[in-house]
Subunit: 233 residues, 2 copies
C-alpha cells in the first residue's frame, strides 16, 4: 500500500495523534524510528507500520508526509501506529509519580522501573502525558513492557493498604540502606520543582532518604533509579 497525499484520511488521523486528548480518546499512539517500531511489534502493540522506503509489512509514505506526522528534528524513515496497552494486575513493586513533568525524566524512570522490577507505574495528577513522543523516545522501549495506572495518589494509597508506601521528602526519613526490601512496596517520587504534594504526603508514613552530601540534591530520575536499584524485585 502507498500513500502520497497529505489529505489522505489515514494521514490526517496520524497527525491528530500528536495531541494528548486524541491519543486518549482513540487509545492509540505513534512511535518513531526503527528501534521502537521493531520493539512495538515484538510486544504485540503495533497496529500498522509506515516507512518512506518501500518494504514488506510497511505502508509506504512520502518524506513530506513523514515530516507532517513526526516530531523529531532528525527525520526518521519508519513510524508505527500502536495501541495503548491494557491494564494488568498490580506488580509487587510500584513506582508512584506525583506530578513528574519532564519527558526525559519520565522516560528515564520507565527504563529504571523495568530494569529493577517495578513493573507498574501509578501516574498521579500532574504527570506529563506518557505517550508524548519525547517520553517514548527516552523510554527506549520500556514503555511497552510496563503497566500504567492513572490515579490520584492519595486515593490510591488509601485504597492499597497492603503496600508499604515510601515517600522521598527529606523530613521524617529513614536511610535507604536501612529500608527492608519487603514484598509489596511502593515508592513515591515528587515533581521536579515542588516535590511530593501535601495531600499525598499526608497519607505517607515513612520517607526514604539517600545517604549523600546533604547540601546537595539529585535529579528525580537519578534518585528514583538509586532507590529502585536498592529495592529491586
Amino acid at each position: 500500500m502507498q500513500i502520497t497525499s497529505l489529505e489522505n484520511p489515514k494521514i490526517k488521523y496520524l497527525v491528530k495523534l500528536n495531541t494528548s486528548k486524541f491519543r486518549k480518546q482513540e487509545g492509540k499512539f505513534i512511535v518513531e524510528g526503527k528501534h521502537l517500531v521493531d520493539e512495538a511489534r515484538r510486544q504485540n502493540v503495533l497496529i500498522e507500520a509506515y516507512s518512506t522506503i518501500e518494504k514488506e509489512d510497511y505502508i509506504f509514505i512520502t518524506p513530506a508526509i513523514m515530516k507532517k506526522i513526526c516530531n523529531t528534528d532528525t527525520l526518521v524513515t519508519e513510524i508505527g501506529l500502536c495501541k495503548i496497552l491494557d491494564k494488568k494486575e498490580l506488580s509487587n513493586k510500584l513506582l508512584l509519580l506525583d506530578g513528574v513533568q519532564d519527558p526525559g525524566n519520565m522516560g528515564a524512570l520507565m527504563r529504571s522501573a523495568k530494569a529493577f522490577g517495578f513493573d507498574t507505574i501509578i501516574l498521579g495528577d500532574g504527570c506529563c502525558d506518557i505517550y508524548n513522543d519525547k517520553v517514548i523516545r527516552s523510554s527506549q522501549g520500556a514503555i511497552f513492557k510496563l503497566n500504567f495506572v492513572s490515579s490520584n495518589l492519595k486515593e490510591f494509597i488509601l485504597s492499597h493498604k497492603e503496600y508499604k508506601i515510601y515517600g522521598t521528602n527529606v523530613v521524617n526519613g529513614i536511610s535507604l540502606s536501612e529500608v527492608s526490601n519487603d514484598n509489596l512496596i511502593g515508592v513515591v517520587l515528587g515533581n521536579e520543582g515542588n516535590g511530593i504534594k501535601d495531600e499525598t504526603f499526608s497519607v505517607i508514613e515513612k520517607n526514604i532518604y539517600i545517604p549523600m552530601d546533604n547540601t546537595e540534591s539529585l535529579n528525580v530520575s537519578v534518585a528514583g533509579g538509586i532507590i529502585m536499584y536498592e529495592l529491586r524485585g
Copy 2:
C-alpha cells in the same frame, strides 16, 4: 548602574558569551535565575549580576536586553556573569565522561557527582560544553563546586595509574555489589548512543555492571548515579 541600550559594549559582550568558543577564550560564562546567581555569589565565582528590577548590587537592564542575553523560554529577572573555575587537585573519586552529549544528562551527573563525593570530573573528547545554559540549569549549582579537567581519556588513564579505573561496558564485568570501594577510583561513562570509545576501552581493565533485568538498559545519568552512590566517598 543602569543599561538601557542593546548597543552597550557590556551587553554585546554578554550576548557573545552564548557561544562556547567565546566562553573558553574569555574564561567566563553566564548563569540565569536568582537561585544560580545566589549560588555563584556564595561560591565566589560571580563577577557581576544583572537584574530587570532595580536593586542593590545589581546592574539594572531592561527586559528587552535580558531577552537578548537569555536562552530560557520563561524570562528570568536576574543573570550573573561568572568566571570559569580554576582547576584544583584531583579528588580521590573521579568521574570520567567519554562523550556525554545531552545537557540534561551532563547536569544530572554533576549533581550526583557532588552529592556522592566524586568532586573531579574528567571531560573526554566529544562531551557537550559544560557552560552551556541547559547544563548549568540542570546542574542546579553543582557546577560551581566541582573540579573539571578536559583530557583525552586514554591519555588521562595511562598517566594516572594510581587510580583504579572502571568502565561500564557490558562485557568482562563485575557486579557493582562486588566492587571494593577503594580510595582512588575512577568510573568511566560513555556516550548516550555509542557507549565508551574503543580507544578508551583498550586501556580499561575492568567493567562494572549494575545487577538488573539484562534485557533492559539505563539512562547514562541514572547508571552513573547508581554507581557513584554505591562507591561514594
